[in-house]
Symmetry: C2
Subunit: 275 residues, 2 copies
Amino acid sequence: MSNEVVAFQGERGAFSEEAAYKLLGRDIQVLPCETFEAAFQSVAKRKASLCLVPIENTLAGSIYENYDLLLQNDLHIVKEVNLRIVHNLIAFPSTTLRNLRRVYSHPVALAQCSRFFSRHPKFQKIPFYDTAGSVKMLADERPADSAAIASRIAAGVYGARILQRHLEDHHENFTRFLLLSKKPHISPRANKVSIVFSTANAPGALFKCLSVFALRDIDLTKMESRPLRGRPWEYFFYLDFVGNVNKPPCQKALEHLQEVTTFLRVLGCYESAKR
Amino acid sequence: MSNEVVAFQGERGAFSEEAAYKLLGRDIQVLPCETFEAAFQSVAKRKASLCLVPIENTLAGSIYENYDLLLQNDLHIVKEVNLRIVHNLIAFPSTTLRNLRRVYSHPVALAQCSRFFSRHPKFQKIPFYDTAGSVKMLADERPADSAAIASRIAAGVYGARILQRHLEDHHENFTRFLLLSKKPHISPRANKVSIVFSTANAPGALFKCLSVFALRDIDLTKMESRPLRGRPWEYFFYLDFVGNVNKPPCQKALEHLQEVTTFLRVLGCYESAKR
């Protein structure tokens, strides 16, 4: 995977960049993008060979915008990775725990470190647009008595140091990321499938769809619904299940599903990440 | 329902206030709250008798924060209402379509009126924290050449006038709101049930849960999943279905569901809104 250009949303040092290194090693080039849409577009327009986007967090839930973008863009899921979200207190040498007063980060990160702030009532939480972006701002402006909360690698990217690790309240804080490519690539070891479908607006329609998996003892790992724009109170269903689209039980299930859905698309077939 | 105090999130004139009048008539008192959590809490602490919160929009999807708050708070759904979201251009008398330059509103409302802004390239979009709040700001500060995009009733609340109606790109833009009370109240006409449950983490678990409805020809109208905090990759499922908890098919389905779930709570049984 060396020489790949991997796009992600956020500044250099974002958790997405940490996830990209975990999945693909350090031998990649990264392309930070302002929005998720721009990260998808950079692959569609061949400015990047791959993009890595978060799809769900075990505390905050799904990243719904990326479910919508999966449907709107013609990219394929080729890998996934789970990253444990570890929040670090990051500052430049003039700042110590003793003289620190202001802590910058994304509001979600600040909220996930509430016990740390309870233990340090003199620290003022200052919401910022991005976790890694707050370290970047410290690097540019060097405000006195200030630190940021961000990923481990953000400290390295901007030459700052980590004053304290594991600021997060919950250790069971994981984000699942999907690696997307313009071309489908199905490894023989692929054992997970992501699909999206819609059904006729009739009683029992969703039950019929799930029966094609239950009848074959195929395990579902995630289900999500999103509104079908222009058809109020109808939905797209996103489903992840265990299997390989080139192997019989899963092939048969998808054939069967095609019969009972009004729309069906395979978003990818890939090796599932360790849990 | 007169003399009821109804809490909602947002400033006076919010779409939630418009929905409250549509559902309960003009004979109510309203209590604007800064956050959804504060709206729930005002009922729990008896500062309001009811609260009205949005649960899904046909373009943007579910309001996931309110799904989580339904589980965290012990309130009951007693009614629902669907409101068509009509965006209006609102200004004070010194501002006309001719001298208008700046248009304030919530970023989501600005995005939903993109065709209006394409037709009027000289109008500058200015993101603001709230739709009705932008009319309130105009009332307080009277900036020159400025208007706001907000609900019909926001104009009335702040004594402004509507320069143009129906700025929204999509007419199929509806928001569904739930009315919540401290006490359950199940009308004999109630024909819709909302529940939340979790299942054992085993293959076919969700299929078994849905079978209790399919076996009895009970129609599901909405399904949503949210993460189970502290148990990564497990989920709560929220389900709306047609029925009355005091009538046999639905009673039996819930008894049956109790057998195959690890957690089950009825969030309310109420009359379904017109679609």
